[in-house]
Symmetry: C2
């Protein structure tokens, strides 16, 4: 048996999230079907975490055990040939048997993207939340600071969360304004990207943080309200859950050593 690690990139617009659902049509379902088709072996893959319906991933790790003898350098093209064009395996390697995509993960980064220009970009329409109204970006940047640190994030978690602890650590939270787009129309506000890195995230956490920050940007709340909301540990205290399409799992980081297999990396 081998423990195979892969990363997958997907446009989540047409899927019900990463993890298998009774109704099917998830990223996991498509990956497992492609693996069965390639190897004849039924496998269960383990992702670094879930993503909601409509959420994208630039780079999501998963792993699975296989007895297939197909050389690793053939897997990427072989699987991509069997996957829909909006799901692509980007990397394949063998890892130690005790590696686990979720438990071995050290840092996860999500990106949320807001298009603040007047005209939505048709080419990015599924990847950006369009907010042409004026946003107070410096207030949003100020509010964002409050979520960094180790906190109980109950106020920013779905009420359906089943986790016993809502304590997580956010290591970094950055707002980057990109006005370099060559898309036509006015560019007063540009594209506003939020990068949030933590040791883990609760259900809807980034989207509720973003929904609350948008209310700060619209002047409905003040930046310091973010701190008060955290303290209340009550979902009712925060703003709405922002649209899923602006959210992308950006990257998942591991300690290098957990990925190393006898210092031999089977990359492509």
């Amino acid at each position: 048996m081998r423990n195979v690690f892969m990363t997958v990139s997907y446009d989540g617009t047409n899927y019900y999230g990463f993890q298998t659902q009774p109704g099917g049509n998830t990223i996991q379902d498509h990956l497992e079907a492609a693996i069965v088709h390639l190897t004849g072996e039924v496998v269960k893959i383990h992702g670094s975490g879930r993503t909601d319906a409509g959420v994208h991933a630039r780079e999501q790790p998963f792993h699975f055990s296989t007895s297939s003898l197909i050389p690793l350098e053939r897997w990427r093209l072989a699987l991509n040939g069997r996957l829909p064009s909006d799901i692509r395996v980007t990397e394949v390697r063998e890892v130690p048997m005790d590696f686990h995509s979720r438990r071995s993960a050290k840092r996860k980064t999500y990106r949320y993207s807001i298009n603040g220009n007047r005209v939505p970009d048709v080419f990015q329409r599924n990847l950006q939340y369009h907010h042409p109204g004026k946003l107070d970006l410096s207030a949003m940047r100020e509010g964002l600071k409050y979520i960094v640190g180790t906190h109980d994030y109950t106020s920013f978690a779905s009420r359906r969360s089943t986790k016993t602890s809502h304590v997580r650590t956010i290591y970094e939270a950055q707002m980057v304004v990109d006005t370099s787009s060559d898309y036509p129309g006015t560019h007063e506000q540009g594209i506003i990207h939020f990068y949030i890195t933590g040791n883990g995230f609760l259900q809807h956490m980034v989207r509720i943080i973003m929904g609350t920050l948008l209310e700060i940007g619209e002047g409905k709340r003040r930046p310091e309200d973010m701190g008060n909301i955290l303290e209340k540990k009550n979902r009712m205290a925060a703003g709405p859950t922002a649209e899923s399409k602006g959210l992308m799992l950006w990257k998942v980081e591991f300690n290098e050593e957990v990925l190393l297999l006898n210092s031999e990396i089977a990359d492509e």
Copy 2:
């Protein structure tokens, strides 16, 4: 009556090109339907030119006459609310009655984009032709130079072209290699954009130029063959027609004065 000028941006993946076809589902059909829905007035719009099925436009101008009294500043949002999300009106203004989107156009620029990286970018999958194999980029850059100037482009035109003259002028042709993408995977070749500006283009012209340049990049032809192909004035001499999805109408330029209405511009 007013002569209304608009620019439209579209992801052409799901459409049969700009111009009305018997089967419907063209950009023109959707625009005209949205205008009828808004004004109750049946209009015929005139584009700056045709685009093939699957070809995109960043900025395509069109115009039409209307007796509607709806203020121009309301048109963009009102039409966009009635259009599919992959078609967006980006600009609206009134122009002199003798302005014509095609006849008044001075320069048109097309962009063709090749993804030369090993892994296709799922987020750009409909906008890039994926060519992971090694390309000789300096040979392609060299071959591109031959198409600049005033020539009979019969070799680079569809045999179905019904134009009486195949003489056109290409003012500029540039190759720009972008290796700045943050998409995962290796980036040996990057994204290769070709910008071609001329006074007009024959059917399939940019795509046949690109199909031929790709053969030069693959070492199947030499750069100087581009000149020989032009001289032959025979479609058989050139390479295949490159895939439509990499092509985008980038911009159409006019002399400023033809757009001016009593020095009063009704922009939004």
